[in-house]
């Protein structure tokens, strides 16, 4: 049975799209048929992050409205046979994302994929609610910073009350914390909330910690999900997060001081 995963955060700019691209690519690299969908209607960006912006012909809204078939809109990734990108529309009509239409498209995707990764827009408006509504799992993308943590808490509340699973009294959405832009140096100086602090405040299980890394900007510059950069600490941290999502036990990297020199050496080389 296909699993619907939403990448959500409430706050903008925390790394939802970067993480959606990296996690979708990571799942595909492990042999899972994966599609990543952009729910940010009007502010399409997943195509750029995935490096397929010049191949977009039809989009999510075209398929919802019946103007295009699913296989006309899906873009096959050139790096992985298992990975597909489903771009959104640049229309300014936010209500174009109709819930029953979205459900119909997701049901059709479920027949063809193992994982459906939904990249949510920021905020708690229609688009963000639609992106999380059908989720089986949610990856709460959070920066170690007060406004991001507060908004994550809000989104966790919304998942628990407004998702389809909540409304239909089904098993609750499986919620995971993904802490991004983490700097061990600053945590040690007492300048940044630590992973333990954020875990304690949000009290949801930790999926991964992505260190602040130059490789993330480099990946977005070139339209390559960061997991394809095997040298990059962020890329390896995303691989670990994907492995944990699939049920493997993996130690958290980049969190202990004895690993710091190793991490620094990598950063220095990157």
């Amino acid at each position: 049975m296909a699993k619907v995963i939403v990448l959500t955060s409430g706050k903008g700019g925390v790394g939802k799209t970067t993480s959606a691209a990296a996690i979708a690519a990571g799942l595909a690299l492990r042999g899972n048929r994966t599609v990543v969908i952009d729910f940010d209607v009007g502010l399409r960006n997943l195509d750029l992050i995935m490096g397929c912006e010049r191949r977009v012909v039809f989009d999510f809204i075209n398929v919802i409205n019946g103007d295009a078939k699913l296989n006309q809109a899906l873009i096959k990734d050139k790096r992985s046979d298992n990975l597909y990108i489903f771009p959104t529309s640049q229309t300014r009509d936010k209500d174009a994302l109709k819930r029953d239409g979205v459900e119909r498209v997701l049901d059709e995707l479920k027949d063809n994929f193992d994982y459906i990764v939904c990249d949510s827009p920021a905020g708690i408006e229609h688009g963000a609610i639609t992106a999380l509504y059908f989720a089986d799992s949610a990856i709460i993308t959070t920066n170690p910073e007060v406004s991001s943590v507060r908004d994550s808490d809000r989104i966790i509340g919304i998942l628990a009350s407004k998702s389809k699973r909540a409304e239909h009294n089904m098993e609750p959405v499986d919620v995971h914390l993904l802490l991004t832009r983490y700097s061990l140096e600053r945590v040690k100086k007492g300048e940044m909330l630590s992973v333990e602090d954020v875990k304690e405040i949000l009290s949801i299980p930790l999926l991964g910690v992505i260190p602040e890394s130059e490789s993330v900007l480099r990946a977005s510059n070139t339209g390559t999900p960061v997991v394809f950069d095997q040298e990059s600490p962020a890329g390896r941290a995303y691989h670990d997060a994907v492995a944990r999502f699939l049920g493997e036990q993996r130690e958290m990297r980049f969190l202990k001081s004895e690993r710091r020199s190793f991490f620094r050496a990598l950063l220095g080389r990157a």
């Binding site: 910073e145 507060r150 808490d153 809000r154 509340g157 100086k189 300048e191 909330l193 602090d197």
Partner: protein
């Protein structure tokens, strides 16, 4: 060893510690109001009116909360009163058993308009 160090050098109030404390406080408030039923503010307002007939009371002296104790949901109403402020006329009128105040809408057995069905 770490414990001893902690005792000797108590935690510096770094900006991260301040951030954590502020978040804990604000989220405790927001979670409480998020889980609260929609009728609480109206209930609080009506209770204030009723109590206000007998004692002088300010808005912040009456607090209504919904909490949990084990499997039981609790509606908790805390009223702080100042004895000196009891109005003798009103007090006398109430003890003389004059016309009872109108029943609260929640007591009528039919759901009030703000109570969600189901």
């Amino acid at each position: 060893m770490m414990r001893l160090l902690d005792l000797l050098f108590p935690e510096r109030r770094t900006s991260a510690v301040v951030a954590k404390d502020r978040l804990k406080i604000v989220l405790a408030h927001e979670r409480a109001s998020r889980d609260a039923p929609d009728f609480l503010p109206v209930l609080q307002k009506e209770l204030l009116q009723v109590v206000g007939r007998y004692v002088e009371i300010r808005d912040d002296m009456l607090r209504v909360n919904v909490g949990k104790s084990g499997d039981t949901s609790l509606l908790e109403i805390n009223v702080e009163i100042d004895r000196a402020k009891v109005s003798p006329a009103k007090n006398g009128a109430a003890s003389a058993g004059t016309k009872a105040p109108p029943a609260m809408r929640l007591d009528t057995g039919t759901p009030a308009p703000w109570v969600k069905p189901g």
